[in-house]
Amino acid sequence: MSKFRKKSGKGLQKINTSSLPDIVFMLLFFFMVATTMRETEVQVRVKVPEATEVKKLEKKSLVTYIYIGRPVAHVAKMYGTEPLIQLNDKLVSEEGIPYEAIQDFVLFEREKLPESDKNRMVISLRVDQDISMGKVDDVKQSLRRARALIINYSAKKEYRDQGRQR
């Protein structure tokens, strides 16, 4: 303690912290840019299944999302509790197989892509694990009609501890 006092008594220069705000601002801007606030509010409950063979989706701009799940509480008041399909931010409420709605949606989204990427469009299916396949099959058939053939079954990475075995 006494040593410290002696030194400070001699008028040691303070560390210059004037560049600290700059550094922090730089970090701040990085995070502000990197943050993607979700522009679509997901109105259906989706708990994606787990799988071991998942890969990361590269090139976010190519990805279009289709959600399938049971509606969340406040939406359920209007639409009931049956599973619904959500295309970006609108829910498909029509009865039967929504071929038309999905085709229009895919065409609309495809138009947004640059010419070179039009046939590399990826549809990410974010489907709740308890939904029956009937709904998913309908969507898949609609996607085939709309010629959106690259699909991605969204899933979380599952780690199995048993390791590799044959």
Binding site: L125, D128, R166
Partner: protein, 211 residues
């Protein structure tokens, strides 16, 4: 030079404010990397095109059925999900040349010359390639989670075969092949020719009523 009477604006709190904002964004940022299993759907058949019964040898098809109670049947027997991977690997490799497992064709696959010490200097691989196809069928009432688990096992089997091959010949994990590198991309394409992702999904049918 500022005179002694006009003190500088105190910038010390600027850092605090910036820190506060920084921490806010740090907490709210979700670098959500989307993950999933990518598959290719078959194109819509031409309406004018007539249905042609494609004759496929029975031994070349492994039928994977998922019924509405999420039970799995593989090649005529009820099976646990975790056994499916081994079954698939056996189906695609046919190690004993079993008459009931798929035919194997003797084929050549071109790899980049000199890429592996186990290949000839021209990089030609000769070996058996399976003709097997997996036919995955599900009911409308199968749950999606179950379906994806089965898909996952099938994909896992093929990935394991590819990875083993890649390790053996190129001393590298299949996933670590860099597709931006032309040589490694050629390796990847070659391996894909040897172990194809032959999973066919038949058109959905309703066995147990709608939903």
């Amino acid at each position: 030079m500022a005179s002694r009477e006009t003190p500088e604006v105190n910038g010390g709190s600027l850092a605090d404010i910036a820190f506060l904002l920084l921490i806010f964004f740090l907490v709210t940022t979700t670098m959500d990397t989307d993950t999933g299993i990518t598959r290719l759907l078959p194109p819509e058949p031409d309406p004018e095109q007539e249905d042609v019964e494609v004759k496929v040898n029975k031994r070349n098809v492994l039928v994977v059925l998922l019924n509405r109670s999420d039970l799995l049947m593989v090649g005529g027997e009820v099976m646990d999900r975790l056994a499916l991977k081994d079954k698939t690997i056996e189906f695609f490799t046919n190690p004993q040349n079993d008459q009931n497992l798929p035919e194997m064709e003797e084929k050549e696959v071109q790899f980049p010359p000199g890429s592996s010490s186990l290949l000839s200097s021209e990089g030609v691989w000769t070996g058996r390639i399976s003709r097997g196809v997996i036919s995955l069928q599900n009911d409308r009432s199968t749950t999606y989670g179950r379906y994806l688990q089965v898909q996952n096992e099938l994909v896992a089997a093929v990935n394991l075969l590819r990875n083993d091959f890649c390790n053996l010949y190129f001393d590298k994990d299949y996933d670590d092949l860099n597709t931006n590198n032309p040589i490694e991309e050629e390796i990847q394409l070659g391996i894909r020719k040897i172990y194809k992702m032959n999973i066919s999904e038949s058109d959905p049918k309703s066995i147990g009523g709608r939903n």
